[in-house]
Structures are given as C-alpha cells and as structure tokens.
C-alpha cells in the first residue's frame, strides 16, 4: 500500500506515539512543536488519498516543509534489549479501540485504529463490516457508492474535544490520536460538519489526475 506522507503531528510527538515503521516522514520526529491543531494550509495536499501519493513522490517540493525528507535510519534491534518480556511487547502492542455506530443499525462494532495505516484501509474495513450500508468515501471519488434510497452514509468521528468531525479532516496520525468514537452518519445529517472538508474535497478533486 502506498505509504502515508504526512508531517509528524505535534500532538503525536508529545504523546509519544509510535510511528508505523513503514511510514515515511518529513523531518525528524519531534521536529515541530506547535502544539495546536494544524491549520488548513498544513493539511492541504499532505493527506490521504491513496492513488495520489504517487503525485507527492514526484513533487517533493510541495512537501518540503521542514527540510529533510528522509526517515531517520532505524537502529538494528538487539536481542533482549530493552529488557521487556515478550508478553508485554506483544500483548501490550499499541492498540486503540473505538466504537463504531451506524445510524439505523441495531449493533455497535469496535475497531482498533492502530491496525490501519491510512483512512483508505479504515474505510475499506468499515465497508466490510457494515456492507449493507453504503459509506460515502468522498476522499476518493472513484469509490463513491451509489446512494441507496437517495441516502448514503458519511463517516464521522467525535474528537477529544467532543466535536463531531468528518473523517479525513486531519492527518491520519492526528486522527488516531484524537478519535474517541466513530459514527456512520446519514449524509443528510452530516451537512454542516466541517464544511472545510467539503471545500477541500472539491478543490483537490479538481487537481487530481486520475
């Protein structure tokens, strides 16, 4: 799968988030410490569209926000160091469980956000879980499902501040850090959520070359 290209978020460095080993990052971990949610200009073009990551790879100047674009070389791990038992390393693998509700469904599911590396993977999994509920994946117009009975579902989440946001608003890592629960909301109700997101949707969909 295409790797995420995203600046390490300030929240994630101060909260000690574990970086996916395969993730390319711009700048060394902890390079930025602005401590606030990233502004719009930070998020544009640095997000999450699977097939468009190839564009980023060929346009490094867009992403050269902090300079060095190579990931830090990982040290080879020494056997038995640090001295943490295997049971702690495996079972205490970083997991982040959140509940997933779908409007109109009689059941809740839960997902481990740490199992996914990108919004694409998460949404794909949600589509499998709730296969009778067409999920609007505005992030990738090609995968938009035909609305059923004129309504479809928008993936939304409640963040740590209690605000309901559209999934895909913020860089993936920041989303994992701040998401408290997911809700697949009927599109009619989702209007008015993070309008910026839909602006981004139209502006970036225009620039994609599919």
């Amino acid at each position: 799968m295409s790797p995420q290209l995203a600046k390490p978020s300030p929240e994630s460095s101060s909260a000690g988030l574990h970086f996916n080993d395969t993730e390319l990052t711009l700048g060394l971990p902890g390079a930025t410490k602005s401590g606030t949610k990233r502004g719009f200009s930070d998020t544009v073009d640095l997000n999450l569209r699977g097939p468009c990551n190839t564009d980023h790879a060929s346009n490094p100047s867009e992403n050269d926000v902090s300079g060095d674009s190579k990931p830090p070389p990982a040290k080879t791990q020494i056997v038995g160091w640090p001295p943490v038992k295997a049971s702690r390393k495996n079972v205490a693998k970083i997991s982040k469980y959140v509940k997933v509700a779908v409007d109109g469904a009689p059941y809740l599911r839960k997902v481990d956000l740490e199992m996914y590396g990108s919004y694409q993977q998460l949404l794909g999994s949600l589509e499998d879980m709730f296969s009778c509920f067409p999920i609007r994946n505005y992030l990738n117009e090609r995968k938009l499902m035909d609305p059923v009975k004129g309504s479809d579902y928008m993936p939304t989440y409640e963040d740590r501040d209690g605000d309901w946001m559209l999934v895909g608003d913020v860089p993936w890592k920041m989303f994992v850090e701040s998401c408290k629960r997911l809700r697949l909301m009927k599109s009619t109700e989702a209007i008015g959520l993070a309008p910026r997101a839909s602006q981004k949707c139209t502006s970036t969909s225009g620039s994609k070359s599919l």
Binding site: S13, L17, W81, P82, K85, K110
Partner: protein, 594 residues
Amino acid sequence: MPEPEVDTRRREIAGVLTGEFQSPSPDQVLENVLENVLLFLTSRRDRNAVSLVCKSWYRAEALTRSDLFIGNCYAVSPRRAIERFRRVRSVVLKGKPRFADFNLMPPNWGAYFTPWVTAMATSYPWLEKVYLKRMFVTDRDLELLAQSFPAFKELVLVCCDGFGTSGLAGIASKCRQLRVLDLIEDEVADDEVDWISCFPESGTCLESLIFDCIECPINFEALERLVARSPSLRKLRLNRYVSIGQLYRLMIRAPQLTHLGSGSFSSSDIVAQGDQEPDYISAFAACRSLVCLSGFREIIPDYLPAIYPVCANLTSLNFSYANINTEQLKSVICHCHKLQIFWVLDSVCDEGLQAVAATCKELRELRVFPIDAREDSEGPVSEVGLQAISEGCRKLQSILYFCQRMTNAAVIAMSKNCSDLVVFRLCIMGRHRPDHITGEPMDEGFGAIVMNCKKLTRLAISGLLTDKAFSYIGKYGKLVRTLSVAFAGDSDMGLKYVLEGCPKLQKLEIRDSPFGDAALRSGLHHYYNMRFLWMSSCRLSRQGCEEIARAMPGLVVEVIRNENEEDKDGFEILYMYRSLERPRIDAPEFVTIL
C-alpha cells in the same frame, strides 16, 4: 500414611490411659521442646541458622521445616532435599535465571519440574502448596501433581511454560481442596480444552483464580457458574477474552472480591446498539472490599469512569497494559489516595507521573513500562517524571522506570528524597546514553543511590557508565543482593569493584560489558556465597571459565552457545551457580558444563 507425630501422641495418650506411661528421657524432652518451639519459626534464614547449632538442632529443624525454598533447582537434587526435610507442606522452586525472560537463553535449557514432582509424589503425601518460577512444567507433571496430593491447596506458576489447558483441566478436576490457582505471566498452550468446566460441580473452595496470562478464549458461561459456586473467592484475574459486559456479570455475582483483573475492559466485537449498557459504575461500587485492580488489556478509555467508586480504597493499581493518555490517567489517579503499588505505561507521559506524585503519598512501588520498547522510540517520560515522583512519593521503596532520557540530577534527587528505597531499577533504553543535559556519564546518579539509600538490596543500572559507577557500588552497596548490568563499564576493574566490595551479593547478571577473565577471577572468594552469576557477550574466554571450574569444585560452570553458533568453542553465555550435586545430566547439546 499417618504422620509420625500423630503416632507418638497416640501412644502417649494410650499410655496415660492404661497406666503404662513411661517418662521420656531428658534428651527426648529437650528435642520435643525444641521441635515445638521451632514450629513457630517460619523465616528460612532463621531456620538455616538454627540448623547449624549442633546435630540435634539440625535434626529437629529438619523435622519441623514445612516450607521448603529452593532458589535454584539445580543447587540441590530432589532426593537430597527430601531426605533431609521429611514433613514438607509447601515447596518453592525457582529455575531459569531472569535473563531467560528476554530471549537471551536458548529454549530447552532445562529447569524441569518432572524430577521434583516425581520424587515428591511418593515422599510428601501431605503436600499442600507448590510455587514455581521459571520452571518447565508439563501437562503430565500437573496430572501427577493432581493425583498424588489429596490435601493439595495452592498452585502458583510464575513465568513457567511447557504446559497447556489440558494440564489445567487435570488440576481443576482432581484437586478437590484447591483454594488457589494462580497463573502469572506463564506461556500456556491452547489445547482447546475447556478447563474452566472441570472444577467440581458441587462447589469449590476457591479463594484465588488468576489466569490473565492465558492467550486463548475460555468458556464464559462455565466461568459464571464457577464464580457463583465459589463463595470464598476473593481474587479473580480474567484474561483479555473476557469483555466488559461479561466482567459485569461476574462482578455482580462476586461483590466480595478484593483483587480483580478486569480482562479486556472493552466491549465485545459486536454489541447490540439498542441494549442499554449495564451500569458498570454500580457494579464497581458494590465491590466494597476491592483493593487491587488490574487488567485493562484492550481498554476502551470511555469505560474508565466505571472504576471511580473503588479508587479511594485501592492499594494496588496495574495499568501496565492500558494504552491511556495523561488526561485519562489524571481522571482516575486523583481519587487514589491510598495507592501503594502502581504499574503504568509511559503513554501517560511526565505530566501523568506528576499527577501520581501529587496524589499518591503512600506509594511504595512504581513501575513505568514502555509502550514502545525499542531503543529509538520517542520516550514520553524522562527525568521530569522521576523528579516529580521523588518529591511527591517519599515513602517509595521500589521503582522500575523505563525511559529514553535521564539526568544525574533527577537520580540524585531520588536518592535523597526516597531514603527507604530497597529496589532501584532504571532502564535508559538507548544504550550508552549519557545524562542528556550535561552529557556526562550516569555514574554520579547511581553513585548517589548506593550512597544515600541505605536499605538498597536490588539495583539495575543503565545508560553511559564508566568504571567509576562500579567503584561506587563496591564502596557503598553493602547490602546489595541483586545487581543487573547491561552495556556498562570500561574495564575489568568495574567487575572487580563489585565482586570485592559487595559482601551480600547473591545474584549478578551482566550482559554486553567489557569484563574479562581477570575480573572473573577476582570473585573466587565469593562465588560459593552466591546463587548465580550470569555473564553474556562479555570478554570471557573458555580458558578463563575453565580456570574457575577447576578452582571451585562446588560450582557448576555452564557455557552456553547460541544454537546457531558454528564454533564449538565459542560461547555467548557463562552461567555458573553453586551446587551440592554433580553437574546435571539433563543439559541440552548447546550447553557445555566445564
């Protein structure tokens, strides 16, 4: 088989009744008095001292010792132990050295329970308790145990492996007096046997059931029925296959619990949306005796408020599997005024530890584990957290702290603020890391610990350390019994300081440090007083080890190769220990006993 003392008493009583009573000889009287007095002596150190007074005291002590403690299963043979101590009710056996936990020892090294259980089966019919640590235990061993001891009450297995759920089924079904079944950090094979259903149907005497380490599902309905028919149950620690909804059902049946391991603390994968979630808060509130809480294996932090009602009474809280952040921790810890033992992940950051320091004034033991146990991980806790703890938790006795950054100043502060420290284990995960502010080695920090903490018996050191650190340990660490060293020191002098300076040293484990044969020789005067010495990836040679083996016939000197090691003379690990026996015959091919 009736006990000898019962027989003697019967005869005495019978003698009195029939007028045939004969007064015992003075020696006999003395011995009887001694035996009766010694029954009150429980400390094994005191008993060891008693046994050295004279032969008759040795005999009396041997007859009255009921708790057998064997710190190294290869130091003595089962036969010798059984011949000396004939009336044992409880056995503690320890096997592999601690570094085996971190994959430093190849598997199948040894520490088999089989010869012990086989010997005890015929000699200790009244055996009630078995406690094993780092032993290899098979299902057949467990089966034999279950069949052989009709009065058996307690089985505690810590860091053991070799058995599975079928062995547990045997224990559950045959040990009718079982009060305690504690499985702690074991590797338990999933034989797909429903062992929970094997407990007696009519009711159990269970007081403690701990199985949080079992990595396979259990039959929940059977567990619920088991809890319902176990009125003495006080300690219950569930594995991660128990959801919070299931936890609720168990808690309402067992509000008398004092120790609870909460399982996953997460909803099961599919939860009916229409259903109201049970009132978890009430379930916790009903557990008025709850003092020890753990589990949280797959926590959904939303559920944390459920535990608020019990926080004020908790003396022990284990969050070391809970991926929670600073805010989530703060919401809980602010209520925990009585907390004495606290285990947590570093995901709570320095600020979380500051909150602990602010509230937990009774804290005796703190363990901070890394959520990302790699050398180059972020490291959300640092000297800031350690400093805060040292200032807030003055009664601290034991600390284990994983971090990426540390300063001498913070360690020195802890040495001064927490003078009751008995255990100080600091693991700076990046190898050879200096004080990150001054760039100096960490010598002064650890030096201060051994200097100021007069009760210190256990020490683990890390970071950039020169021989100076070891000179401090040798000079001031007069009570140190256990020392753990990794990637430290400059020369043989380091090890010499310790071997020459620490008279109480019993367990020494060293890896990847530049100590060679000369250093090894400097401990010859002391090795018989030690339980073991482990040295791996140091600068030892085969000849150096052979020299020790020749000089000290009472030591078993094992050199252990990596299984892949081509060179038959090369070795990774020196493991040596005192023993009353000839070297063991159960060693695998990659172990050479010199």
